[in-house]
Symmetry: C2
Subunit: 193 residues, 2 copies
DNA sequence: TGTACATCAGTGAACGCGCGTTCACTGATGTAC
DNA sequence: TGTACATCAGTGAACGCGCGTTCACTGATGTAC
């Protein structure tokens, strides 16, 4: 059958969006293409009408994860009184909500240890995204020079991703909460003066 | 053929040791059993004379990773002047050497984001190990109560693991070094005050 | 002391399943005439 | 206006490979007699 004008583009976006959630939720090589397509009421064969390979899809899926997460954090910021932006970002990033929702959250926390083992093209793309976000976020950090602010931002960002990963790895909900709270208190004190 | 008394035990240990390196190096489901055995000049069929399942092997392999890493950090400590132990641990954990050697390093940094997705039995075992090590290390941290020292230890440990994961994910060696140095300076100042 | 048998770490073929990718095909709609 | 053909998103069978697990078998050595 013939489809309407924007149909193909819409389908493509649905695939990327679903894949983005699933790669963050499942990690590894991400969802099997058959499953992914079935969830969207499509069949696996059609996949290659949209993407050159699974790897290409995963790259786009991860980029989408960064976009979604940044938007979600920026939204938190918008509610801040002046100077309180960073505190709200830390609180949201280290919230129980983010912890319970890897599929909709930060790709670095969701995939931290796996990125290093991705194929080169994927690593380069992830690296580009991380640099972009770090640069934007660095302005909120304390520090005399932009160099110093960026260093602080790297420490905060990697530290929060580590705390979130560790919390998610912890089976006991009480301990999870303890880790998140400890990290939240610590980074707030360290960077929100 | 019949083998000497300790032979089976030795073979088993060789398998665990090789698997421990490979799961940390490759992540995911770890090495394929066929490859793992071939590297030890054995065939895949014999594997099940030693282990109930691959999952059981992985559990033992990860525990071995914790043991090796703790020993390696304790060795660093032994060279410290009194009070300087933690500083040496931070420096070793965040060294370029550790960064370049995931297969021989900390399992949490190597597998951070994947642990949360392991089968329950594996998660529980990893959790036990982490608690054990955190408890031992907490004594080196500042804090008025043991509660507070443990919280600090959680923050330091998860932060360092996050920094190491991020550094490993970074393709450019200069940036890798920058991340490690920034984290090293920061945590040293924060906890070795 | 010599012989028959038991033991058991290791072997390698086979099974079954998951999964990425390819490819000939479908069929509703747009277009050319 | 009606008819023949082109288009192309989506379909589903098939291929090839990787991999965990099973199982009947091997063969050197220890043990029973």
């Amino acid at each position: 059958m013939r489809y309407s004008a924007g149909h193909k583009k819409e389908t493509r976006e649905r695939i990327v969006k679903a894949a983005s959630r699933q790669i963050r939720g499942q990690g590894g090589k991400g969802p099997a293409i058959g499953d992914l397509m079935k969830n969207l009421d499509l069949t696996h064969g059609g996949f290659y009408k949209h993407f050159r390979s699974k790897e290409q899809l995963l790259i786009e899926a991860i980029v989408k994860g960064f976009d979604e997460t940044e938007a979600w954090l920026v939204e938190a910021m918008s509610k801040a009184e002046p100077g309180g932006e960073l505190k709200l970002i830390i609180e949201r990033y280290l919230s129980l909500q983010h912890c319970a929702n890897p599929a909709g959250g930060c790709p670095v926390a969701a995939l931290a240890s796996e990125i290093a083992r991705y194929p080169r093209a994927m690593r380069l793309e992830v690296d580009r995204e991380i640099r972009k976000r770090i640069k934007r976020m660095a302005g909120l950090l304390p520090g005399a020079t932009s160099e110093e602010r960026e260093r602080n931002c790297l420490v905060l960002f990697s530290g929060m991703a580590g705390a979130l990963s560790l919390a998610r790895a912890t089976p006991d909900p009480e301990s999870r909460k303890k880790i998140l709270e400890a990290a939240r208190d610590f980074y707030t004190r360290a960077f929100c003066g």
